[in-house]
Symmetry: C2
Amino acid sequence: MKTILILSGGLDSTVLAAKLKAEGCELKCLTVDYGQRHAREVAAAEKVCAALGVEHKVVRLHGLRELMAGSSQTDPSVPVPHGHYAEDSMKKTVVPNRNALLLSAAFAWAFSCQADTVAYAAHSGDHAVYPDCREEFCAPFAQAMKNADWHVAELERPFLELTKAQVVAEGAALGAEALMALSYSCYEGRAEHCGLCGTCVERKEAFSLAGVADPTEYEA
Amino acid sequence: MKTILILSGGLDSTVLAAKLKAEGCELKCLTVDYGQRHAREVAAAEKVCAALGVEHKVVRLHGLRELMAGSSQTDPSVPVPHGHYAEDSMKKTVVPNRNALLLSAAFAWAFSCQADTVAYAAHSGDHAVYPDCREEFCAPFAQAMKNADWHVAELERPFLELTKAQVVAEGAALGAEALMALSYSCYEGRAEHCGLCGTCVERKEAFSLAGVADPTEYEA
């Protein structure tokens, strides 16, 4: 099985990389640098792939920023909101059409190299904030991708029904604690995780609920 | 009605720009430079927008080329095939997942600026060669886009049932002969249209079948 994994360098996609590698996939990881606020996630993705010994491509698509006004993740004039991930204020972190762009890029690679599947790590906790993590988006998108090329590749979303705490538990069950420690989640993008932004709050909570020791150094 | 039009600078999207402008749309045109063999199409798109007096964004996404091996349009090691557009050899000109990438970028802009629709100029003659011009791709993709953001934008494909000759006839009916003359179709990308590649053959044939004088200078 040849699989293209969308690897952001965050916790969820890092655990999914460990899982697919453990299952014996021929794994190729894609990180899209679409002009996020910071490069630390990309650096984390590189470390994860080096640790797993899998192929990694980083594709720079900074031109997309021009189309993405209004998101705290691509527009420096919008401050990063603090608080719990599920709050309404977190909608400021929505990057317009991010998943369609990431998935389309991954499928382009899958069609070029005749991969069997494209995998990504959307989980159930994403749905409340991100419209493009919902089944209403994913199901028709996956169907469109089956007809986008003469080669057929399938979309795989193994974590769709899991909470983030269950993703962390899966990582621990795979013995991927050291790999999870390499991942980076913070929206602020400083050397240490801030501990206050939506993804930091969610990351802390996930380790705590899973009963797994959190290897992350937080500022707060 | 606020509309984002995907404008390649080729004949079909140029006629669609004329049509939407004539219908009174607030038109914003998007040209994606994904590392096509040449920049002449992009320059043609600029001229078309200047002539119509509409907003134009050119977004450079050259990083995509790394994901698109094997197409004559993005991989310099693959020669441009000559002959009729509908021949099997034209499959070499398929750019992997091109439409999903272009449409996803256009919808990102539509979500950012709260546009009502995204328009593109796929026509019936495209289907034989390009899997991602087929209804089996377009219908589920449009459905996915309705659920990709909290803002809803619709996909418009007004030329889907038309032949390219009918698109040219539409351009002539709109009085857009001068605009069509600004458009550029050739896969070779030299100053004049080569007259031999698939799109040149198709362009000539469309003007001829429509009974519209072809303003294009061909080398052959």
